[in-house]
Amino acid sequence: MSLSNTLPALILVSSLLPGLAIFLLREDSHVLRTSLNMFGAIAKVILVGVMVWGVFHAQSFETRWTLAPGLDLVLSADALSVLFVALSTGLWLLTTVYAIGYLEGTPHRSRFFGFFSLCVTATVGLAMAGNLFTFVVFYELLTLATYPLVAHKGTPAAVRGARIYLAYTLSGGLLLLIGAVWLRTIAGPVDFVEGGALSDLSGLDPTALRWIFALLIIGLGVKAALVPLHGWLPQAMVAPAPVSSLLHAVAVVKAGAFGIVRVVYDVYGVELAGTLQLLPVLGAVAAITIIYGSIKALSQDHLKKRLAYSTVSQVSYIALGTAILGPLATIGGVVHLVHQGIMKITLFFAAGNYAENLGIHKVSEMDGVGRRMPGTTLAFTIAALGMIGIPPVAGFVSKWYLGLGAVEAGVAHWVLPVLIASSLLNAAYFLPILYRAWFKVAPTAWPAEQVRGGRLEMPGALLWPPVVTAALALAIGLFAGAPYSPLEWTQLIAAREYGL
């Protein structure tokens, strides 16, 4: 038993055990529940820190359980999984703080935080999955753990949103499972290998491989909200704000996008995916999703709905970067996994604060909110500018590498217009919000203002998470060239995937 074969399991357990324990707690044991939550979140951050250090220094970590001959549950750490694990762990810590503040005094908190922990457990599980089987297992677990969170409020709208979510994701999971089983029957156990597991095998039927690719991508595309599989995401905005943050930035949508990256790079490999002509189709779907999501976002007055369509659009940057062959586009796509997560979670935290503090749910109610809630609105502003791709916020770095990658791959004639149209559309649905918030005169009364004492505009547990994530979004753009930055880490990933 050394660290190298227990660390992945420990990371999983650090949220699984607190989660299970929380289910058993009485509703009023607030202190104990909060302690368990925070203990799990902080322990995970420390463990992941060790793992990041180890992977950077070329150590390998692997936990393997053999369930049956040829059926292994494998958790391991490569550069790509560490990137996603670090993202979800860091953001989970902040979301936990936020959720504790957000749900203070509401019923069913033990149920909520129990599933909350399971959700993150499933996410890090699929992030560290070392083979396709393990990935599918955690992918389905994630679906089941998230459903009660979306339905948490118990209102008819919440239940309906959650049902739609479940119907979409279970169907997607089924397709993914069929694809995975089919692949297993023709190619044996599929481990995730940098450069592609299938690239070493020859004599496989290209037609079957194409069908399997389609099944896998459709299955993953449901969670990644590729058009036309995105219908559940705007419906799921009925969930409480911390859950929305989790759905959009940390867990669900990201799991789909991450899965697409895994399938293209580590199952098929860039060469095979190139020869099978699979990527242009994925690229076209991603481009359509980017534009469609942004156009839908324009006409939403409901703030969270606008943000939801924005997610539909922005997450497809990851798929787009994956669909363009070449290391620069890979960097752009994969780094957006992190950048989009940090920027979008900021936006949802802020949206939650507006709703919680002033009862603001609609864009049209946001006039003059900047003066009333400057910290939250500043965070929102930074994140929104980043989404448009304005330097030096993180989003610019993604966009720049996607642009470079498109030129490198010779597909600039359609990718650059997509990027530009998307930036203009992002500007068109974010800048009016900023204009209202900062430059318009506040109404005489807010829709539902909470009267609070205190020096800050909000309780600290709700104010600091968006401020921290916004600062982070700015910092990782401003210091993108620094060691250990997401960009540098992604460059490492791209170098390994392309064997550079």
Binding site: L298, S299, L328, S364, D367, G389, I390, P391, P392, F396, V397, K399, W400, G403, L404, A406, V407, E408, G410, A412, H413, L416, P417, L419, I420, A421, S423, L424, L425, A427, A428, Y429, L431, P432, Y435, R436, F439, K440, G477, L478, F479, A480, G481, A482, P483, L487
Partner: protein, 547 residues
């Protein structure tokens, strides 16, 4: 040759790097304090390291900040030094003016914040020695200027909205162009760009991106609206340093002599000439002093664009021509903001007759009358051009002269604004006057030349004829509101409502609240932005396809 003194020996080597870093950094550091007591005086403080850098740091000093953004490269080259010095002077004068002028009670806060951000962007792009840093500076400057234009009036808000639409399109064109350049060169460093062929798509996008900043005809409607509606201090920095950043962009990314640039040079020569003619014609018809100055900027930038196009078509004379062109641009960079600040001082201040005489001298310098810096800059251009495009120079000078006469006439006819007596803005103008009048030359370098009298007679003749034709019936003078194209498109929109796309993206910000009050204006802003977007997309599609 120019105002640059050789003081570079005075600076210990260890101070070079901190000074260069502080140049863009100090305004950024001051920005968060915009809302505090420091905000007002910070307007003048932020630019000081830039001026020290321009005066003291030796040319060729470079810095590699590899961990900032995508690897920031800073370098002070000869061109950058000239831009830095004169841009810095204008930012300093404008900052002092804003801190002490009639609006001094209102500058702390939003204005100070965006002023510092725009300043930081301007300084960063001048020192940038790589593509991404240049782009970051250019975007920061361009987008922050939105907050400067955005005054309290409805008119200023409309102007700011239109400005933002055009600027966003410009940024994105530039983004695409620079991605094409960087991918072709395999590097973002300027020194590794040299010799890399520039694709037609990249050239078109560069002309578009910087052309919006330089208000090429067709890309100009934002300019007269901003110049007439924004606070004067904002207009001063817009019309001087920020506008010239567009020229610096062309100088950095379109080296004459690179293969395939000649046809583009011809196109630019044509467009620029159109700018000279249209700017002068539409400018004379304006009824506001500021609007005349705005169209005069369009005409001057047209001339600069045309001459840059000439340099592209004739690489043989490009080097001396571009050197002269930079001096010419620097002259405009100094005079135009000085004129705008002069308008502010004249409206508010004491010693009105003397101020008007000062403004008259500045106008004479802009028109290139003998013994002014404008004349010296024109002579430098003529020498570099060997007698080519001399007709354009004469037409431009005559046009400017007529515009300046019109400007002075309109200004003198205006009733002054009642404002409290303030001495400092007047002093700023007094100090700025000789610099703008002769800059970027030493007074000793100015030789008496009577060439300037040719356009003078021509301009006078044109003005006399025009006056004679219209004096009996002022109604025969067509009324062209500032922003021409914008208003015509707006009118077209009203006549053909079916063209309106109901769910049109609200590019220029928030239609819902204002639509009811001013449906026409809002639609038109969308159209302006939409048209520019169409141009961009069409260019992209057309020029990217064949390769």
């Amino acid at each position: 040759m120019s105002l640059l003194l050789d003081l570079t020996m005075q600076l210990p080597g260890a101070a070079v790097a901190p000074l260069m870093v502080l140049t863009p950094l100090l305004p950024l550091l001051l920005a968060p304090f915009a809302f505090t007591a420091i905000g007002r005086w910070g307007l003048a403080l932020g630019v000081l390291p830039a001026l020290l850098t321009a005066l003291l740091v030796p040319v060729g000093s470079a810095l590699d900040l590899s961990w900032v953004m995508l690897g920031v490269q800073l370098e002070l080259d000869a061109t950058g030094r000239i831009f830095l010095l004169f841009s810095g002077l204008i930012w300093l004068a404008t900052g002092l003016y804003a801190a002490t002028g009639p609006d001094r009670q209102h500058v702390a806060g939003r204005f100070a914040l965006f002023y510092q951000l725009a300043l930081a962007g301007n300084l960063l792009l001048i020192l940038a020695a790589d593509i991404v840093t240049f782009y970051v500076g250019f975007a920061l400057m361009g987008l922050s200027a939105y907050g400067l234009i955005l005054g309290r009036s409805q008119r200023a808000r409309r102007a700011a909205r239109l400005y933002l639409g055009f600027t966003l399109v410009g940024e994105l064109a530039l983004f695409s162009a620079l991605a094409l350049l960087a991918a072709a060169a395999g590097s973002t460093r300027f020194d590794e760009l040299a010799g890399v062929p520039v694709s037609d798509a990249a050239v078109a996008l560069l002309l578009l991106g910087f052309g919006i900043k330089l208000a090429l005809p067709g890309l100009h409607p934002w300019l007269p609206l901003s110049y007439t509606a924004a606070p004067l201090a904002a207009v001063a920095v817009l019309s001087g340093p920020m506008m010239k950043a567009g020229l610096l962009g062309w100088l950095r990314f379109l080296p004459p002599g690179a293969p395939g640039l000649e046809p583009w040079g011809t196109a630019l020569l044509f467009l620029g000439t159109l700018g000279v003619v249209l700017g002068s014609l539409l400018g004379v018809l304006q009824r506001e002093p500021r609007a005349v100055l705005a169209y005069s900027s369009i005409a001057k930038m047209g001339l600069i664009s045309a001459l840059f196009g000439t340099a592209l078509t004739q690489p043989a004379i490009a080097e001396p021509l571009l050197t002269a062109l930079v001096l010419f641009a620097m002259h405009h960079l100094l005079v135009k903001p000085a004129l705008f600040l002069g308008v502010g001082v004249w409206q508010a201040g004491p010693a009105r007759v003397w101020v008007l005489i000062g403004i008259g001298l500045l106008a004479a310098s802009l028109a290139g009358l003998p013994l002014t810096g404008g004349d010296a800059a024109k002579q430098a251009l003529k020498a570099a051009l060997n007698g080519q495009v001399s007709l354009l120079l004469v037409v431009s000078a005559a046009g400017t002269l007529v515009l300046m006469v019109r400007f002075l006439y309109l200004l003198a006819a205006r009733a002054p604004r009642a404002a409290p007596f303030s001495l400092i803005p007047l002093l700023i103008l007094v100090v700025l006057l000789p610099i703008a009048l002769w800059g970027p030359f030493w007074p000793t370098e100015i030789a008496l030349s009577l060439d300037g009298l040719v356009p003078l007679t021509m301009g006078a003749a044109v003005a006399a004829v025009a006056w004679w034709l219209t004096q009996d019936s002022p109604g025969r003078v067509p009324r062209i509101p500032p922003g021409d194209l914008y208003h015509w498109v707006a009118r077209l929109r009203v006549m053909a409502p079916t063209l309106t796309w109901r769910g049109a993206p609200d590019l220029g910000i928030a239609a819902t609240a204002t639509t009811a009050a001013r449906p026409r204006g809002t639609q038109a802003e969308l159209t302006g932005a939409g048209l520019a977007m169409l141009v961009l997309i069409a260019l992209l599609l057309v020029s990217l396809l064949p390769d």
